[in-house]
Symmetry: C2
Subunit: 223 residues, 2 copies
């Protein structure tokens, strides 16, 4: 029987802070004190952010007409087994080819209902302006392949599953249209799980009738 090593949980989430990286054009994250210990006897914060700030979940309604919203994804879907696929040897800014996935998962089976996480190494360049508009993404063929494998969700440690120059957002539409959800901007701590299977915990905030939400993303090692 599988054993979950909760004591060894690793945080895969980026911090949310003023001035943090954001997808160009999207709402910047802002955190401001509205009360302080010195003046008010307690600390309180007002936060402004995008539904796609930092490590976050895309719900089908982000791109799909009548797609389900973030609050409609069953909560149990955010806890599940994940395979971590190392695609860090393909050039930054390119689309992950389907052959790269089949080659890398030869010894690491992708099962039905799995969450599939890609380590592109863009997360190691998180604050580097050179990856802001030039990050690794999923090819349309790769997205179609993952839908055909009947996985539950796809995650990536870059800004988006589509290239910055994309106008049709093929990968988003394939995945979300196929009923999957997407995890974007996973942190670089994902690197320590390359080629392994983990229990992923990634529950987003429950924004009513919305297209996505930031999440805390945790890796539970299994033995």
């Amino acid at each position: 029987m599988v054993k979950y090593l909760f004591e060894q949980i690793v945080d895969l989430s980026h911090e949310l802070d003023n001035g943090m990286p954001a997808y160009p054009g999207d709402t910047p994250t802002s955190l401001q004190a509205t009360a302080t210990l010195a003046k008010d006897g307690m600390n309180l914060t007002k936060v402004t952010l995008s539904s796609h700030a930092g490590t976050h979940i895309d719900a089908p309604s982000h791109f799909i007409e009548n797609g389900i919203t973030i609050d409609q994804i069953p909560a149990r879907f955010f806890v599940g087994e994940a395979v971590v696929v190392d695609v860090s040897d393909i050039p930054i800014g390119s689309g992950i080819p389907v052959e790269e996935i089949t080659r890398k998962t030869r010894q690491q089976e992708i099962k039905r209902d799995d969450i599939v996480l890609f380590f592109t190494r863009c997360s190691e360049l998180w604050s580097d302006p050179r990856v802001e508009k030039n990050f690794t993404f999923l090819s349309e063929a790769a997205a179609k392949y993952l839908v055909s494998k009947e996985v539950r969700a796809v995650g990536i440690d870059s800004f988006s599953v589509d290239s910055f120059d994309s106008t049709n957002f093929e990968a988003h539409k394939e995945l979300l249209g196929g009923g999957l959800f997407i995890i974007e901007s996973i942190g670089s701590t994902l690197k320590q799980f390359l080629g392994t299977r983990i229990l992923l915990i990634c529950p987003p905030l429950k924004f009513a009738s919305r297209d996505g939400a930031p999440c805390r993303c945790l890796a539970v090692p299994m033995s």
Copy 2:
């Protein structure tokens, strides 16, 4: 060996929405579309909320000078075993006496490092203005007792562990000063776990150097 029933996860979180209940005086929650499928080919949302909106975690720095902030609480602390204590028979708006806790937990041991969750039934009146300033809270003695039991965290399904009229915030200061974290505004779905032990998953957003953050709060039944 304990078995976690991940397929039967129950969501304990309130929805975050425009017009939702908020602690009087705190930042109201606002969700606004910044892009729509019809006009822009995708849906995006700008969100404004308090670090204590909806179901959320209080970090020690909410009330304690030099207390650790929400991002400094180790991520593994947000996944742990919880006992669910039914205090719904004490009057709404009163402080939970320590005797109520010891009486209720006679058959339900509180262990070191447990998370202790209180069901006051205020969550069943979540949108009722009558509980906005008159909700059940923790007596100072109860807070001291929980600290003495060396539990990891305390959760409640009302707005706060201190009464609305409190000026000294004794329960917050006892718990947070004792190194515990607090979960407030847990949803009414907690009711189905009265008197049982569950695996609680409650990871908050990772706001840098801040006093608290909204969380998604999930109950995993155990067998």
